[in-house]
Amino acid sequence: VTRLFQFLVDGVSTGAVYALIALGYVIIFKASEVVTFAHGGVLAIGGYMIWYARDRWFKGGGQGNFWLAVMVGLLVAIALSLVVERLFIRRMQSKSASIIGICILTLGLDVILETYSNYGVASSGKELLDLDNPWGLGATSVLGVRVSDARIAALAIGTVVITALFLWLKYTDWGVAMRATATNREAASLMGIRLGRVSMVAWAIAGALATIAAIFLSAAPAPGFDGGTGRLAFKAFPAAIVGGLDSPRGALAGGLTIGIAESLTKGYQSNLTFLGAGFYAVVPYVVMLAVLFVRPTGMFGTKAVSRA
């Protein structure tokens, strides 16, 4: 039972990170009706910039310097998201390009951003970049469950950020504007909501969430930041789809589902050898395909979203 509990705790903390990324997909989709494939690229650039700032400008020192580097990473990721939104997405939408065209454009962006961060990692001369986060490799035992400090931080910061986001969506004017836009773009526009600004805010938030996720994807127990870290953002796609692309609550539930499914299959993989080694890595996609077979709209999605 302790083992099961251990796996659940692991799963929830990983799930919180996936939920951060999935929320980015959902918020962008709600505000601008675009599914972005460049999210992994933004995540990779955010993570890489944290390392870069820490390595070049805020070397050594205490935790204060780490947080300064994080600020740099966040700012760069937000700026990058805004540039993407203004320069590419808005232009594509204003010439009423098809959604598929916009998606392929974001895939092209993803190729460029990830290639750039890969190039950065390669030219640093190291295999893995250590973001040098304050939690290190330490771990804490609670009731016989051993959890690494970074995981606890992921859970804590994830909870805070996600709660803040939900409250923001629910109570602030921006949040109301965003929900109105998601419900009916034309009506919202006629009511005086500026769709362009809503979309920019959404992209900025998504960029920030991705960067926070990058910190935890490269913290213990993961070995560090490398060229593949950005690719992990693809794993949050199942989280967003399982929950339903237009539902923030769904993204949270989807993220947790995926995280727990992954950590359970990883924990019990010695009992699941018939599925092959490393099956846990593809579990998110298996769950997504299974959900799509039964419910093409996801668990919390509205019907119109994924059906004709």
Binding site: I99, V111, A122, G276, Y285, M288, P296, A308
Partner: protein, 385 residues
């Protein structure tokens, strides 16, 4: 100015293209390029298949590498151990194989891809556009997992060798010493394979074009441009979407067979997300809905890394092979084709085919305005119209 509406320039162009294509193995400088070119020809068939799905049906799929892998590994598995002398199974092969005739195994593999595509049809038929893109992402990651684990068929991480293709006059394997030199050029495997692949690409192109010009193509375009009008016209949305997915899966599998033959060995690394994106880039660069464009796009995307590797010293930012700090040719190629995709989508979403169409239209406009000038002058009594 030749009349831009005339079909003759097109016929002449195609004839010239084939003349060049037939000459390729004899071009001395081009011989180094033969294997990259063969790989590009293999990719071209896959790109044509993806274009059917993306350009005509308006469905995004990232699952293409899955079906390419089905083709490549399936072909190797089914034809491995085939002994052309006894026409039976040879015992020597290390990895398991079925020992079918290579042509028969190609047919079996295409059928297999069709069946797998059909199994995916509850999703491919019901899920629309980009959602299919995300769902199909799942298949790509499953591909890698399967290839790493079903070692008896795939050889795991290190992959497996592809059995040689040795059938009748199309055999690319051995040749008698006299036949091995044609026109002073040694005529070995890659040379023969080039002609074989050229034939397959031609056939696939004609097949796809006829399908897309006929009833199925029109139905797909109708449902791409508006589901409700299409279904009112009697197009069964679910069935046509599923069918488009199946057909594109078969093209992908054929591309896989060709890839296996051209590369000689196959590893799981070749069938990942990068390949999905590369296929999308081929289709977008060539032009959505332009099958000929897909071939050009495939050549561009596939040849680019080799081109940069060979001519790296002349291209800014690219590092020499011994410099670990510079930009690798593959990274440079990714920047270039990623950038090309973005620029084309922003400014000409018809891709290269769209640019060509624009040029033709401009030529037409020039010509008709010339005519108008002549006509006006004629009316004014300046010249005889």
């Amino acid at each position: 100015v030749p009349d831009p509406r005339s079909k003759w320039p097109r016929y002449v162009g195609v004839a010239a293209l084939y003349a060049v294509a037939l000459y390729v193995p004899f071009g001395v400088e081009q011989r180094n390029w033969l294997t990259p070119l063969n790989l590009a020809m293999a990719a071209a068939v896959g790109a044509i298949g993806l274009n059917i799905l993306l350009g005509f049906a308006g469905q995004l799929s990232l699952a293409h590498p899955f079906f390419v892998a089905v083709g490549a590994y399936g072909y190797s598995f089914f034809s491995s151990g085939y002994d052309p002398v006894t026409r039976g199974v040879a015992k020597s092969d290390r990895l398991s194989g079925v020992g079918l005739h290579p042509l028969l195994s190609t047919v079996v593999v295409l059928m297999l891809a069709a069946v797998l595509g059909a199994l995916f049809s509850p999703i491919a038929g019901r899920v629309k556009g980009i959602y299919l893109g995300i769902a199909s992402l799942g298949l790509v990651f499953l591909t890698d997992h399967l290839l790493q684990n079903v070692k008896r068929v795939s050889g795991g991480f290190n992959g497996r060798r592809v059995p040689v293709y040795d059938v009748g006059f199309t055999s690319i394997e051995k040749c008698r010493p006299k036949e091995c030199i044609v026109n002073g050029v040694p005529f070995g495997q890659p040379e023969k394979l080039w002609y074989l692949l050229l034939a397959v690409v031609t056939l696939s192109f004609i097949l796809a074009r006829n399908m897309m010009r006929g009833r199925p193509g029109r139905a797909l375009q109708a449902l791409r441009d508006g589901e409700t009008p299409a279904s009112v016209m009697g197009v069964n949305l679910v069935r046509y979407r599923a069918a488009a997915f199946m057909v594109s899966a078969m093209f992908a599998a054929m591309s896989g067979v060709m890839y296996a033959l051209a590369n000689g060995n196959i590893t799981p690394a070749e069938f990942g997300v990068d390949t999905s994106v590369a296929f999308l880039a081929m289709v977008v660069i060539g032009g959505l809905g332009s099958l000929g464009g897909s071939i050009v796009g495939a050549l561009f995307v596939r040849i680019l890394p080799d081109f940069i590797t060979r001519h790296g010293e002349k291209i800014p930012f690219v590092a020499a092979a011994d410099n670990p700090n510079g930009l690798k040719p593959l990274a440079m190629a990714r920047f270039i084709y990623g950038g090309t995709v973005i620029v084309l989508l922003l400014f000409e979403d018809g891709g290269l085919a769209g640019l060509l169409r624009r040029a033709r239209r401009a030529a037409l406009r020039v010509r008709s305005s010339e005519r108008r000038v002549v006509l006006v002058r004629g009316l004014a009594g300046q010249v005889d119209p």
